[in-house]
């Protein structure tokens, strides 16, 4: 979706401000909601791509106003309600609905730590043919999907060169909507900065590398 989350190349957002000696979490609740997102992922009612998409669905004005972890609150609520793990009424009241069943068992501390230590690879060991080869000139398709996509607007319609083939990965545009993994090759595509931004781009040799799935590309 052409959402406000797709920020590459936008103007007017102000300077980058670095905080010295920044804590991992600024408030206790930030750590709690971060951990709740990870722990709730253990129920496998959604996947990584749906998790990202839940935050993209936050209305643009809200998205820009909210802090990072406020978005994680909104996204988790959306996912839990969609997957019927809880209801809006329960979230508003803070107590389980009368007669609702209790889910068991929740992820234990050891299981939760094992989950993050192990990770969840998105690469698939599948024999899927690559549509492009290293060194080939390609063009990012000029598409505007209504749902989740990882093809940024600033690259659409632009030409680049396949720098390397990362192998076969889950395709987020399908997976975020529970339409299957549609595994396909992902490539690192090198775009000249001047191809993306025109003559104003500072360095003639400067470039931006984007990781692109087969379905995002066509031969240049």
């Amino acid at each position: 979706m052409n959402g406000v989350h797709d920020m590459g190349g936008m103007h007017g957002m102000g300077p980058v401000v670095e905080e010295k000696n920044e804590p991992v979490f600024h408030h206790e609740w930030e750590g709690r909601i971060f951990a709740m997102n990870l722990a709730m992922g253990g129920w496998r009612k959604w996947n990584l791509d749906a998790h990202r998409h839940s935050r993209e669905l936050i209305p643009p004005a809200e998205y820009l106003r909210m802090s990072y972890y406020e978005k994680w609150v909104a996204g988790l609520v959306e996912l839990m309600v969609q997957s019927e793990l809880t209801t809006h009424a329960e979230i508003e009241s803070g107590v389980p609905a009368a007669g609702s069943t209790k889910a068991v068992p929740a992820l234990t501390a050891d299981q939760a730590v094992a989950r993050v230590t192990k990770g969840a690879p998105s690469r698939r060991d599948l024999d899927v043919a690559a549509r492009f080869q290293v060194g080939q000139r390609v063009c990012a398709r000029n598409i505007h999907p209504l749902g989740h996509t990882r093809l940024p607007r600033y690259a659409r319609g632009k030409s680049g060169t396949i720098d390397r083939d990362h192998g076969v990965f889950v395709f987020p545009d399908a997976n975020a909507h529970f339409l299957g993994e549609k595994p396909q090759h992902v490539y690192s595509v090198c775009f000249a900065a001047r191809e993306l931004w025109g003559a104003q781009a500072a360095g003639e040799k400067d470039s931006v590398y984007l990781d692109m799935w087969d379905d995002y590309l066509e031969p240049a």
Partner: protein, 214 residues
């Protein structure tokens, strides 16, 4: 908790608004999820502990220091980062597929995620606020040299800037240049020089900045 949206046409999304006190909201949410059996408080405590105390940029700094000290390790790190980082005991969520990019006198690498805030957690920990902010996400790809200037890093025109936008599941770690005046330093001393910012590509490693573990 009602919405404070000022966009009535978006009423279908009202439920996503977060009230002004997220602390209360999150506390109530945690109680609800515990009550429903969906989360175990001990699991939340453990996860917070992992990211506050166990996983952070010191991990990445040790990887960099070893690469600076051991040419064979550096080769493995650049050719198969997952295996080389696993050798050091690091890996896991948001670091399943790693790529290490090397800075030199001629090439400067910078990492961003314009679409959200993808970041290599196992080696750098959770990202700082500036990395997740709209200014960084919007500008790193269109004006990397301007962004670097704000971090106090002025690159000469003949240095090639490569920006890595982490739009897929590959996660990037910058291998900074080993600073002059560090010959003979052991890995532990070298690791103490390596900052988070240098491993994202918004800074260089310098001997004078020793101890500022930004």
């Amino acid at each position: 908790m009602t919405s404070n949206l000022n966009q009535p046409h978006q009423h279908e999304h009202d439920h996503q608004a977060v009230p002004s006190d997220p602390a209360l909201r999150v506390k109530a949410l945690e109680s609800l999820l515990v009550e429903k059996g969906l989360v175990d408080r001990a699991a939340l405590d453990a996860l917070v502990d992992v990211y506050e105390h166990k996983i952070g940029p010191r991990n990445g700094a040790r990887v960099v220091a070893r690469a600076w000290s051991d040419p064979a390790y550096k080769q493995r790190l650049l050719s198969d980062a997952d295996a080389a980082i696993a050798e050091m005991g690091y890996g896991g969520m948001q670091g399943e597929h790693m790529l290490v990019v090397e800075n030199s006198a001629k090439v400067h690498n910078l990492v961003v995620c314009t679409l959200c805030s993808c970041y290599p957690w196992p080696v750098l920990g959770l990202p700082p606020v500036w990395y997740k902010s709209a200014p960084y996400r919007s500008r790193a790809v269109i004006d990397p040299r301007g962004v670097l200037r704000e971090f106090g890093l002025e690159l000469s025109e003949d240095v090639e800037v490569r920006v890595w936008d982490s739009t897929a599941e590959l996660r990037y770690l910058v291998l900074p240049e080993k600073p002059a005046g560090t010959d003979g330093m052991n890995e532990e001393a070298l690791a103490a020089l390596v900052t988070r910012d240098a491993m994202v590509g918004v800074a260089k490693v310098s001997v004078s900045k020793s101890g500022s573990a930004a």
